[in-house]
Amino acid sequence: MMRPAIVSSPFAGRLNRTDQLMLQVILALIPGTLAMVWYFGWGVLINMALASVFALASEALVMWLRGRPALPALGDFSALVTALLFAIAVPPTLPWWLTLIGIAFAIIIVKQLYGGLGYNPFNPAMAGYVFLLISYPLAMTTWLAPDIPELLAARDLATLSFLDSARLIFTGALPPNLSWDAVSAATPLDEMFTKLDQNATIPEILASPVWGDFGGRGWEWVGNWFLLGGIFLLWRRVITWHIPMAVMAGLLLPAGLFWLLDPQAFPFPAFHLFAGGTILGAFFIATDPVTACTTPRGQLIYGAAIGLITLMIRHWGGYPDAVAFAVLLMNIAAPTIDHYTQPRVFGHGRREKT
């Protein structure tokens, strides 16, 4: 029968749920993840599973310490999204204890110590990633070569089976007949900027077989499949177009300008889009609602700045990829940008102001 009249309007059923939003993000990660497994082996999935377990355990631990029920916090799936994004960002050969350190840092310190979901100023997955990148640069920059037969043959490289990957992650031991040199390869970004530093010209660099149609071979398709997931998020209205478009524009427009000025020293702009974490960053990381700007104009500024900073660090910084740094830098600026980009409220004309 009738319930007491304490609550206030609206009474109609709510249209969205946080856990469903998070689940859709996880769903959107699937195509890109499969592409990564295809090119970089089972290590990606093993890392995802490890990171998820560590993230849920860290979240539950903090909830227990705070004397709060753990299930609602685990049930919003936000820790799971953090874990998956982290696992995608790190190399598929990362030792398990680094995943543990990175995730514990992300969930316990970056997220929960600031108050938990909704209160963290920094993107937890990226903060965890950057924490490891600074502390363990070698392990964090050792990437496998994409599993493309011609490419492997050309460089005499080998791939890792599921068991090989698992052994490498859990014990740190490579298969007896292989060395690191036989399985690892520079990422396209690494390749490009190391060679540029050695004063090679772009046409010389692009002569290498690691390059595909838009960027690094294999890598470009990972990017494409993440793009598909991003379009799914746009279609489901989990995210709006502002941040992804602004990130890409902020990266591509200046990159295009440099390329026009000196095509010998600056790569074609599409290279930036399909190398490294640009697509993943634009659609899945910069759009993290908690740490991004919330006003439409603010989101454009925020995204464009991430794109620009990424480009600047790639060209003139010490790290090959820079999406994580750019996102964290702009996280700090988000509240200020929001403050100065409030939309014009209905009935508050510029002229009517008294």
Partner: protein
């Protein structure tokens, strides 16, 4: 008819930010024509059914009243009278539950109906082109208020003052809240009456254009009004306009924006931009008052929701208790979860079926569990900004929420809290199920209370300062007088000073007037006599020559004094 065809060959329309496409659920209740509700044995007529000062009862308990008779008189400028909705006897005038969001009781006139429906004497019809003042007076007499739900007295709204020139009259038939279909049904069943009212309003205000805005999910209503307009002759300046269905396009400011592209300034009224807005049912009520001389004693109410057996629209005498209406809508079913007054977006919960229908009640909504599910506990805000995307006023609801939660009222206000129309869009899309509107209502109430406190403190301060200033002024005046006196004394010749001292009177008197001299002489004599007696030891004491009774009193008093002193000595602690 398809919405796009309804909108063909129309004037251009504008949009507002945000809004929501909601399942309209109007089919539940809008299938059947309007029917009259059965007369209740008892009517409960609140003295305040409008915004403004409550009416004052002009009948007494036991009085016989006739249908349409004035029973409560308007008080002050912004007020509206109330009339008996049927004939009968006044049972009581007392506090009774009324449909108001506050949930508080209010004074009501209770009438036991006699079923005879005998009418009081009604005023004569006004002509087709009545004098504006006479029409306004008739509207005020009839107790007509905005029937869209706000219940602001129409006569006040229709008198925008000499400075305001109204160019556009907007008739609101948008009815954007889901479920509600009372305006829809009225437009379908009585388009002619509505248009009569619209013409009266058009001529009253002398407007150039008169736009009837209706959401395009009400194709039948749009067609009915257009047909009636085409048949009925005088259609000068009147246009029926189909607008896209988008909640809350029926909000006054939103509808004005959609139809004219103008924005009512923040905290302003439409008259400031030359626009006046009236609800479709209000227009019909104005026609009733002007043409038939009938006061506002009934209104159309939608009874709907899946918690009712047979949803419908009824024309209900004002004051009919909800309980009596529910039976005519098939009764409440066991699936009922929540009973609301108004729509699911802006309505409020009803917890007493004895509440009567008032001028502001447009819908009684019985929702089931699936229609009004419990949103569950609120989770943390993830700043997703979905609220800001749908806000029709372009506010930043999540920022207001954070500041309201932190009780930082200045900040909430900086984010334009008072522009919030409480439409509920933000709360509906919030994935964390935070009751956002509740936070804004809380913050608004707190702000208003604080303003009130501030005003009172300011007044108290001004009063205190005025008092201090007055006391200071009086003190200064006193001192100035004193100084003046001293100066005058100081400047006077020595002989005069002597005399004055003896006379001990006004220092202004320097002349040796005979009266003063006589007094001085008498005083001198008295003093001399006293001195002489004292020198002989014969100065009279007031204890000499006492009567025996007085002597006894003196002795008794001294005895008491001694006792008291003894007691005090005993009580004093040993040092």
């Amino acid at each position: 008819m398809h919405p796009s065809r309804l909108r063909a060959q129309q004037r251009p329309l504008w949009t507002f930010h945000g809004g929501l496409h909601l399942p309209d659920e109007k089919d539940l209740s809008n299938g059947m024509p309007l029917t009259a509700a059965a007369l209740s044995p008892r009517l409960v007529i609140p003295l305040q059914q409008h915004i403004g000062t409550p009416a004052k009862a002009v009948v007494a308990v036991g009085d016989r009243v006739l249908k349409g008779q004035l029973i409560g008189e308007a008080q002050g400028a912004v007020s509206a009278p109330v009339h008996a909705s049927s004939s009968g006897t006044v049972l009581a005038i007392r506090s009774h539950p009324v449909p108001h969001a506050s949930g508080l009781n209010a004074p009501c006139i209770l009438i036991e109906t006699d079923g005879e429906e005998r009418w009081a004497e009604l005023p004569p019809p006004l002509g087709p082109r009545p004098d504006p003042a006479a029409l306004r007076e008739r509207i005020r007499w009839a107790g007509i208020v905005g029937l869209g739900g706000a219940a602001f007295p129409s006569s006040v709204k229709l008198n925008p003052g000499p400075g305001q020139r109204i160019r556009t009259l907007i008739i609101n038939g948008a009815e954007c809240e889901p479920y509600i279909s009372c305006d829809d049904r009225l437009m379908r069943d009585r388009p002619g009456r509505i248009l009569q009212g619209v013409r009266l309003l058009r001529d009253l205000l002398g407007v150039e254009e008169c736009l009837i805005g209706i959401e395009d999910n009400k194709a039948a209503a749009i067609t009915a009004l257009r047909q009636s307009l085409a048949e009925g002759g005088d259609a000068a300046g009147i246009e029926v306009i189909a607008i896209p269905t988008l909640y809350p396009s029926g909000g006054e400011k939103q509808l004005i924006r959609v139809l004219t592209g103008l924005e009512v300034p923040s905290r302003g009224i439409p008259a400031q931009i030359g626009v006046l807005c009236q609800n479709i049912a209000t227009a019909a009520a104005i026609a009733d008052a002007a043409i038939d001389g009938k006061p506002l004693i009934s209104r159309v109410v939608t009874l709907t929701g899946r918690g009712l057996g047979r949803p419908c629209n009824l024309e209900v005498p004002l004051g009919t208790p909800f309980r009596d209406l529910l039976d005519q809508a098939g009764g409440l079913t066991s699936r009922l979860e929540r009973l609301l007054i108004g729509g699911p977006m802006m309505g409020f919960a009803c917890d007493d079926l004895d509440m009567p229908v008032t001028k502001a009640v447009n819908c009684i909504l019985a929702l089931t569990q699936s229609e009004a599910p419990d949103p569950g506990p609120a989770l943390a805000c993830i700043r997703c900004g979905a609220c800001a995307e749908v806000c029709p006023v372009s506010l930043l609801p999540q920022q207001m929420y954070w500041h309201a939660r932190a009780r930082d009222l200045d900040k909430v206000r900086d984010y334009n809290l008072f522009d919030c129309i409480e439409c509920g869009c933000c709360a509906l899309v919030c994935p964390s199920h935070i009751p956002l509107v509740q936070y804004y209502r809380y913050a608004k109430t707190e702000c208003l209370a604080r303003d009130q406190e501030k005003r009172q403190a300011e007044q108290a301060r001004l009063r205190h300062e005025a008092r201090e200033a007055r006391l200071e002024r009086l003190e200064q005046e006193r001192k100035a007088n004193l100084r003046k006196k001293k100066d005058e004394l100081a400047n006077r010749p020595a002989s005069a000073r002597e005399t004055t001292k003896l006379a001990a009177t006004s220092p202004d008197d320097t002349a040796e007037d005979p009266k003063k001299a006589a007094i001085a002489a008498a005083l001198k004599r008295a003093a001399e006599k006293k001195a002489a007696l004292a020198s002989q030891g014969l100065a009279p004491k007031n204890t000499d020559n006492l009567a025996p009774a007085q002597q006894r009193q003196v002795e008794a008093a001294e005895a008491r004094r001694r006792e008291l002193n003894a007691a005090e000595d005993a009580a004093r602690p040993q040092e």
